[in-house]
Symmetry: C2
């Protein structure tokens, strides 16, 4: 399996399913729905949905795509909302994302705040909709809870609050770890667990996949820090060097570039150890961990 | 039953339950959690939680409070988040709410956006947490879905987007109705339905309660328009006359004060007709409809 063709194929699978779950931009709310769709369809690697699908496959039960795709799509709605809000003038004040103007540049601040609110709420509308796929209610509820916990104030939202509050301050490395774990790591781990729960993983499998998710999330964030410090804006499709400009603490600031690269590699190795009881069905997850280390944007 | 003592008692019941479901402001995310708690504990009539509890009682099955209170609390989290975001400078730019400075005045814009995001996500964390109360998974999932649909882009968030987009414009009365129905009405109806579903209402009961919720929500919004036009800022605890200042269309602007009062009264009567098949257990719901018409803030 070639990772690039696998990623392309999975990304297309995810994107082609969006219209089944995202309301069309029509009717009395069409402008607002268009603002939501603008960011959701603006591209992106779709890492969280693909991790969710790959984790379901790794568990080995033959669960149909249409049972996982609503969950995968909800995860991308949450990720997209978080980007829209993070980019706001009151937050990171970024005008470029995926090579395109950010949501508030096109739809205004109020429009962007509401597009984010709409996408976050839509995620739970999708997850709790028993008309999508054939997951039993216990699984749906457990998946929704895992995702809500990871996306909320003790996870992603809390991490963003901590990140913003600590701009232009110096703080111990433990705080940086807390920011990374909550802001990025929590939803990545939840993406893996959501797919695994959907596919009927047992508790031992969930433990291994939690380690995989946590370490993959860590690698992802470390590489993000590296890319922000070493790439051009054109390569990233968003503002390069913005971490330094915002006075944000990053792995390179603590450890330098070389040691940071080593830490990312180590995290990928630890991630794969979480998969040791899994067979060939977990090959996509292993390749995804490698890809996260080697990606260039 | 005296409505004021009933409302007081129910409000205290709801507020005393918050600490069971809202994380304490401690640990690494304490500042962010404090921002969420600031607005949640800032007072308020707790109309949505009380409607939820009253609807559960109206159905007549002896469901314990502890099975409904998580749902009631989640509804108040969603209502509170919507107020925090509505008050932002990019939206209605209000500095006073319930007689206190609005969230962004205290915690800054980024802090307020994230407090809102946190409360919205927490609502679904609570609703999907099988450790709270003893509702079965089907009911939990159905309640979560009804609330997500009502709070999202085809409901409350869509209504706010429509309201903002139409400031300082003239538009047909049908648009005002769409704004009211979605921005305020949808979550009020969902509050009623959530309590009723928890208590095991049948489809005929849900139909009657939908009519009750829709008409009560309409009455609530019409009275809100009236109070905004006729009260002082001190009476309201928020900026009086702000609708006119923001160039917002309201019932009084279309119909004048007297005809607007008649329309509110009519909506209350229509609301009570939805309860005609209910017995004495629905008395609190009937009194609540009257209260919504006669309230002064």
């Amino acid at each position: 399996m070639e990772i690039k063709s696998y990623l392309n194929e999975q990304r297309q699978l995810v994107e082609s399913s969006f219209d089944s779950y995202i309301p069309a931009a029509e009717g009395v709310f069409s402008d607002h729905l268009q603002a939501m769709r603008y960011s959701l369809f603006a591209g992106g690697k779709r890492v969280r949905p693909i991790l969710c699908l790959a984790a379901a496959r790794a568990v080995g039960n033959a669960i149909p795509d249409e049972d996982i795709l609503p969950v995968a799509c909800a995860l991308e709605c949450i990720h997209t909302y978080s980007l829209i809000h993070d980019d706001l003038p009151a937050m990171d004040d970024d005008e470029l994302r995926r090579g395109k103007p950010t949501n508030h540049v096109i739809y205004g601040e109020a429009g962007a705040i509401l597009a984010g609110d709409g996408l976050l709420t839509l995620a739970f509308d999708i997850l709790c909709n028993t008309g999508y796929g054939k997951l039993d209610t216990e699984k749906r509820l457990r998946i929704s809870h895992v995702i809500a916990r990871a996306a909320g104030s003790l996870g992603m939202v809390g991490g963003q609050a901590l990140d913003i509050a600590n701009e232009n301050t110096t703080f111990p490395f433990e705080t940086l770890q807390a920011i990374h774990r909550s802001k990025t790591g929590a939803l990545i781990t939840a993406s893996v667990l959501a797919g695994a729960i959907a596919a009927g993983a047992d508790e031992a499998q969930l433990d291994g996949l939690t380690q995989y998710g946590d370490q993959t999330g860590l690698a992802f964030q470390i590489v993000d820090d590296l890319l922000n410090a070493t790439s051009t804006t054109e390569q990233l499709g968003k503002a390069a060097g913005s971490d330094e400009e915002h006075g944000k603490a990053t792995y390179p600031a603590y450890f330098g570039l070389e040691e940071t690269r080593n830490k990312a590699k180590l995290a990928v190795e630890e991630a794969k150890k979480g998969l040791k009881s899994f067979g060939d069905d977990a090959r996509p997850l292993r390749l995804l961990a490698d890809y996260i280390y080697t990606r260039s944007h």
